[in-house]
Amino acid sequence: MSDIKKEKKIVTFKWNDQEIQAEEGSNLLKAALDHGIEVAHYCYHPGLSVSGVCRMCMVEQIGDKAPPRPYPSCNATVSEGIHVRNDTPKVTSAVQSTLEFHLVNHPLDCTICDQAGECKLQEYYMEHGAYDSSMVDKKVHKEKVQDIGRNVMLDAERCILCSRCVRFTAEITKTHELGILNRGDHAEITAIEPLKNDYAANVVDICPVGALTSKDFRFNQRVWFLEDLETTCLGCVTGCSVKISQNHNGAFRVRPREDQEVNGYWMCDEGREIYKHLSSLGRLQFPLKNNSGLFIPTESEQFLSTLPRPMAIILSTHLTVEEYEAIFHLIPEDQVYFYRLPEEGPEFDSLLKRSDKNANRLGLEKSYYKAYNNVLNWTTKDCSLAGAKEKLNSVKSCFIVVPEFLPHFIKAKNNFENFLHSLPKECLKIALAYDDLFQGINHCDYLLPVPTFAEKDGTFFNFKEQARTLKKGIVYSQQAQSVPDYLALITKTTNNSKGFSHAAQ
């Protein structure tokens, strides 16, 4: 009974000619946006408080009790039976003139502005622009090209003072670095101290214009040359939904995707670097053999058929659930080991970041249980621990799946080198790697190219045990094969006699 009362009532209202159903009392603009209606707006952001200053999302209410003037829909709530329009002459002329005001002091430097192509000023100008400029007066000049810390550049002149970034630092990170100083048209965004929070780059995403741009992405590519790959971040177990902007020249940036179950609208700065290894110069393009310190191209089939036995495989925690299942299907339990990444940073920073960098640990545990009907015991299977490593002493050839090292895995990178060093000298080490830039590469005898997380389809399980999908985007290493594919090659060539034998057979 009480539960029913708590549930919000769904009511119907009308936006232009479209009937929309939404929760009573919810935000009117959000309800419209959620239903795919295009409404011009700058200052409203669903993840932030309402400030109502850009005056673009005006609507006029139709009916008896309607207010006499158009009002901003971002500050209105949904109620039963109201009918609002944003295509009346009053509203269209208001929006047009407001856009004109937005552009009064906006510099015309779209040519060098990174936002060009995804700029809301450009977008709305196409729809609501006055087109006939009457501005011949001098514009107010403010400081351009300001480095305000972390990864963010500020151009105060391009700013339309929507205050989204100010609200972000005040409400989401609560670090209060940004503010708007002065009054009137001299008002400008200012950082009195450099941005210091780990989520600073989000202000670049929420900036509707080119005032805040990313130092990392700055001038690297025009946005219209890029395609977005919708995928999941493997920076930690949180598993934020992200999109990677890429084209055939490479990957260029990572931005968060809206996902209310995990990351809302945000992501951390570390996660924004996960694109860097996708198209790096170090990507392995073909199998390599270690010829006393010099790596030379080789044929994979050639040596895979002559590997000494017994064999073992050390898997990373960054493979997809599908890959794990295929691997476990091919390889008996006693030959499977794992390399678990060490924890880095605080356990949980109360926003998104977690210390556990083993992005698909839960997916791995799940598939392990499914395949071997046995709970994964990390103390005996984690090769980063001494106990598990001793079991590898008798192994003659060992496959090592190199984890996808992200720039912020500092501890992990050093540990991994030590780990490779500590493996028995006489054991043949075949690294299944995406690039040749990892530390300790000299300890490996062979390098086989594997795809990165953005070059394969698959599933991750995040910390909440929710399935998150990875999608295959542009492939930067043509010869890369997935880990199970290589393993299938061995089991085929060796006729399942020794070494890797089919678990089910």
Binding site: S51, S97, F101, S134, L161, G184, D185, A187
Partner: protein, 427 residues
């Protein structure tokens, strides 16, 4: 007793102004001070609210919204935390009536606030006075201290189950803090930027609690209404604009200053009788309600009666009652430029139309021939009019409209002069 020490209740607001040292509570008490408050404690809050409503007292800050009706929107829960805020942030160009009132008779305001607090059930009050009025703030603070000593403020006032604390809060020089939500933001220690409505301050104001914001003059009129009743208050003024009003008169008149006259008094009388006529040259124009009010030509000024409706019928507004009188020697274009400079300086920078529009209008009004070679004066005036029109009704508060209205007013009332002005710019 010396009649000089007796209040003159033919005036509502300036009743005690002739009494020397009325700032001292003893003097004020002798002159029947605080008697209205004592009387009000014997009345029910609802009765006081009804009485104020019946008096038809209209908000004296500028908008002219009836105070009694505004009180009616206020939370009726007497136990709930509520605030009473007195708006003494008088910054409208031409206005100085509140300063005059507070300076001469601070206890009248305190008494008015006490009665209002009793009627509205607020526990705490602040007088937000503009930062420049340092001495006036000190006068108020002294008066408040005296009132505390006499037991008019504090806990269980005069033995009643009624407590009220009153403090003075100094602003720091921002016109926009005269807007009620801007004032609340400023009181909260933020930039004085107006807040989105709804919610209205009467529901959710200072720190999220219901807050009643009233002008000094509105609150100071309450004691008289309680003493003598709403019916007698209505003896002055018109049906829709009852009572008396303070007018701050400045400009080219012989005697500038504050006067209290019934609403509906012809402007001609005010200029000629109360202010001793024009200084040197004959009348050219009058700004009847502070710089936000559209200008009236001499012809209109000699016809208009100073009440809310009649001034509005001439396309202007009574506003705060600041009358700026201009004679024939004055350049209207200069007035426009000064006005726009003021609004450009004072725009809080929140809403885009106002932030960009006020600056742009000033630039248009100051266009130089080197900038603008192709436009005719008519085109510049059209543009100015269009920009002003686009600003109106598009923003959170009324500052954009306050900048747009006088601009449009001047263009409408003195088209020939403005045309000549913009024409000369080209040559």
């Amino acid at each position: 007793m010396n009649s000089n020490l007796q209040p003159n209740f033919n005036y509502v607001l300036l009743s005690h102004h002739h009494i020397p040292n009325v700032q001292e509570i003893e003097v004020y008490e002798q002159a029947e001070g605080y008697s209205a408050f004592k009387k009000s404690l014997s009345l029910t809050p609802d009765f006081i609210k009804e009485e104020v409503k019946a008096s038809g007292l209209r908000g004296r800050g500028g908008a002219g919204f009836p105070t009694g009706i505004k009180w009616g929107f206020f939370s009726k829960d007497r136990e709930a935390k509520k605030y009473l805020l007195c708006n003494a942030d008088e910054s409208e160009p031409g206005t100085f009536k509140d300063r005059f009132l507070v300076e001469k008779n601070p206890h009248l305001l305190i008494e008015g606030m006490l009665i209002s607090a009793w009627a509205l059930g607020t526990q705490k009050g602040y007088i937000y006075i503009r930062g420049e009025f340092y001495h006036q703030a000190k006068i108020l603070e002294k008066a408040i201290t005296q009132a505390y000593q006499k037991g008019y403020l504090g806990k269980n006032i005069l033995g009643k189950d009624f407590s009220f604390d009153l403090y003075v809060h100094r602003g720091a020089g921002a016109y926009i803090c005269g807007e009620e939500t801007g004032m609340i933001s400023s009181l909260e220690g933020k930039k004085g930027q107006p807040k989105l409505k709804p919610p209205f301050p009467a529901i959710k104001g200072y720190r999220g609690y219901p807050t009643m914001v009233n002008n000094v003059e509105s609150l100071a009129a309450v004691p008289w209404i309680i003493s003598f009743g709403a019916a007698r208050y209505r003896q002055w003024g018109t049906e829709k604009s009852p009572g008396t009003k303070l007018f701050s008169i400045s400009g080219d008149v012989k005697k500038a200053g504050v006067i209290e006259v019934p609403l509906g008094t012809p402007l001609k009388n005010i200029i000629e009788d109360h202010c001793g006529g024009m200084r040197e040259a004959p009348l050219k124009a009058v700004i009847p309600g502070g710089s936000s009010a559209p200008i009236l030509t001499a012809e209109q000024a000699y016809k208009v009666k100073m009440d809310y409706e009649d001034v509005a019928s001439y396309g202007s507004m009574l506003g705060s009652g600041a009358i700026i009188v201009l004679d024939q020697t004055r350049s209207i274009a200069e007035i426009l430029k000064w006005t726009l400079e003021f609004y450009h300086h004072e725009s809080c920078g929140q809403c885009t139309p106002c932030r960009e529009g006020t600056g742009w209008m000033e630039k248009i009004a100051k266009r130089r021939p080197s900038v603008e070679k192709t436009s005719t004066p008519e085109e510049v005036m059209d543009l100015l009019n269009r920009v002003a029109q686009n600003m109106r009704g598009q923003t959170i508060c009324a500052l954009a409209a306050a900048a747009a209205m006088p601009t449009q007013g001047i263009l409408k009332a003195f088209p020939e002069e403005m045309k000549a002005y913009f024409g000369n710019l080209k040559s």
